[in-house]
Amino acid sequence: MKLLVCISKTPDTTAKIAFNGENTKLETAGITFIMNPYDEWYALVKAIEIQEKWGGSVSVLHVGPSENDAIIRKALAIGATDAHRIDTEAVSADQVAFQMASFIQQHAFDIIFTGKETIDYNGAEVGGRMAAQLNLPFISFASHLDIVTENEAIVKRDMEGGTETIQVNTPFVISAAKGMAEQRIPNMKGIMTAKSKPLNVVTPQEYSPKISIVSHELPPAKKAVQYIDPENMAELARLLREEAKVI
């Protein structure tokens, strides 16, 4: 099967987030960037598992400049077959989805994976937008994927209080949530072979932005924990009523 995994770059989960003076752009100095965990742990690993069982190839696709190659190499070290990087800065979900869908249109993939969302902007938009442009079925937040035949799959989605089971024929777009696979840590052999795997640089399509970011605001800083003497229940009740305003 020909599988494609779309991977994006996000700040490390422990990064301290700050914005530039106008609050329009993330301050990147001092931030470590990683592969978006939903893309890496679930989408990529599931695609590799399918390839191990059914044969074929796992390609990864990324929109971004060459300084992001480390993330692509990591995907190759984990086990992807080859990689394509669309050589333009990623600015919005719409633009990323447009660039990737335009690339996919020229290739035939059986399954196109994304992560359920990126852990920075949490938009969860790219998969759906791509599917729309490609006119393919889209299944979001999938927690299980079983390949029945090379043309057919059964997908499960965890929902509030239950699960939904879906039958779908290839090709389709799927966004991977927790449960789909387990994180694989690249080993030294993978890291060494990644160096010789192909990484194609793709010229981006013409695109004019449809939205622009006005500003970002950080959530208010968390207040310190207040300890209250267990004997002093009246004080606890007063604080809950007057300060927390929850009772």
Partner: protein, 407 residues
């Protein structure tokens, strides 16, 4: 060793604390590293966080070796990273090897010891000095963790002075008869094979591969260690053990055989010690910002800042020393004396940082909630094995003066 990991761990302390370790790179030494180096380091760091950190305090407290990690270490590629892939190694360079050791020792010196012995003291001599047949027979199994190896040089009466060893081999037809004993041997009670250094009838030191189960060969465990408690240590006892001559490493004789293995392992320890120091510093830095006394974080007091500032200064110096040694090693130009200097400096740096970090943690630093006390105890072995702190000083002394002060 038949019990399942789950069964063994049932009674052990298993931490559910998240390992928050983050690397520290004050001088942007990362800029000197390749993508491969950083990827190797990050992969082993992730592996340690997932496989080692949650269980290590429990195993160390119980003085049990997490035997299942041999397979894990093999899978991640920690055994013989610089040995060519065709022989079960990783085909990587010396800096990647160093960074792998750094990350393992960041988790625990005992886990790093498991890998050092397997890779640098067992796979390396077989690769370097073994026959093609020996390489084919043992290296793939050692690389994949199906075989566990150990390295027998030290004897009860010959530690710092291995040239005085008494263990000997005597020819007998197609075999040799091996007699003697070795002491303080990492992995020995678990080992399938032992690379043993012994003198022949002419008093020449030879390396010989002894297999578990050969009659007359036993490997009792040494109990009661307060250090490297998660790494198993034992003796090797040889009573008229008949070993085929084909098991002798054909391509080396004399002390340079074991010493070249030690150079390889000591090089890894010079990097490994940075890992232990980084873990202590990282924990102390975080604790000093969170912990308040007299109404402010203890990290705000000058005395604490002095400790922390000196720690990062010493770590940075050690990182530069290791990086330079690595670039020399990549060119095949790192001398044994240069390796001695780095091993001695970096291990001593780590042990001093561990002690200061312990103080910053106050009483909490005494418990297994933090890794500090375990690192302190581990490093007492690390400063002794692979050449003691003083022996490495004498190596430098001899190198710069040309005068041997050992005897």
């Amino acid at each position: 060793m038949n019990a399942s990991t789950a069964e063994i761990e049932k009674d052990l302390f298993i931490s559910n604390k998240v390992d928050l370790f983050a690397g520290h790179d004050y001088y942007k030494i990362d800029d000197l590293l390749d993508e491969e180096h950083k990827m190797a380091r990050d992969a082993v760091r992730d592996w340690v966080k997932k496989e080692v950190s949650p269980i290590i305090e429990g195993y160390a407290q119980a003085a049990k070796c997490p035997v299942h990690l041999f397979k894990g270490l093999a899978n991640v590629g920690a055994f013989g990273p610089t040995i060519p892939t065709a022989y079960g190694g990783g085909g990587m360079d010396e800096i990647s090897y160093g960074l792998i050791m750094q990350e393992l020792e960041r988790g625990d010196s005992g886990i790093r010891s498991m890998a050092s012995v397997q890779g640098s003291l067992v796979m390396y001599p077989i690769y370097k000095f073994g026959s093609e047949e020996q390489r084919r027979k043992y290296l793939p199994g050692l690389g994949s963790g199906d075989l566990i190896g150990c390295f027998g040089l030290t004897e009860p009466d010959h530690g710092s002075n291995p040239s005085g060893m008494l263990t000997k081999i005597v020819e007998d037809g197609d075999d040799v008869i091996l007699n003697g004993s070795k002491m303080w041997i990492t992995n020995s009670p678990l080992a399938d094979i032992a690379v043993v250094w012994a003198k022949d009838e002419k008093g020449i030191i030879k390396g010989i591969i002894v297999e578990k189960g050969m009659p007359g060969f036993s490997a009792p465990e040494i109990k009661g260690k307060w250090s490297l408690r998660a790494s198993i240590t034992g003796e090797l006892v040889f009573e008229n053990v008949r070993v085929p001559k084909a098991n002798i490493l054909p391509n080396v004789q004399g002390l340079k055989g074991p010493l070249s293995c030690l150079s390889k392992a000591r090089y890894g320890i010079a990097w490994g010690a940075i890992g232990a120091a980084l873990d202590c510093y990282d924990s102390a830095l975080r604790y000093s910002i969170e912990r308040e006394q007299f109404g402010r974080p203890i990290g705000g007091f000058q005395l604490t800042q002095k400790k922390l500032a000196e720690m990062i200064t010493e770590i940075t110096k050690a990182q530069l020393l290791a990086w330079r040694l690595g670039t020399l090693a990549n060119k095949g130009e790192a001398s044994p004396a240069q390796i001695s200097m780095a091993k001695r400096n970096n291990v001593n740096m780590a042990i001093e940082i561990a002690r200061e970090a312990r103080q910053i943690h106050g009483g909490m630093g005494i418990t297994s909630e933090y890794s500090i006390m375990r690192h302190i105890m581990n490093l007492e072995s690390v400063i002794t094995y692979e050449g003691t702190h003083d022996i490495h000083l004498l190596i430098t002394g001899m190198d710069i003066t040309g005068i041997n002060a050992f005897q």
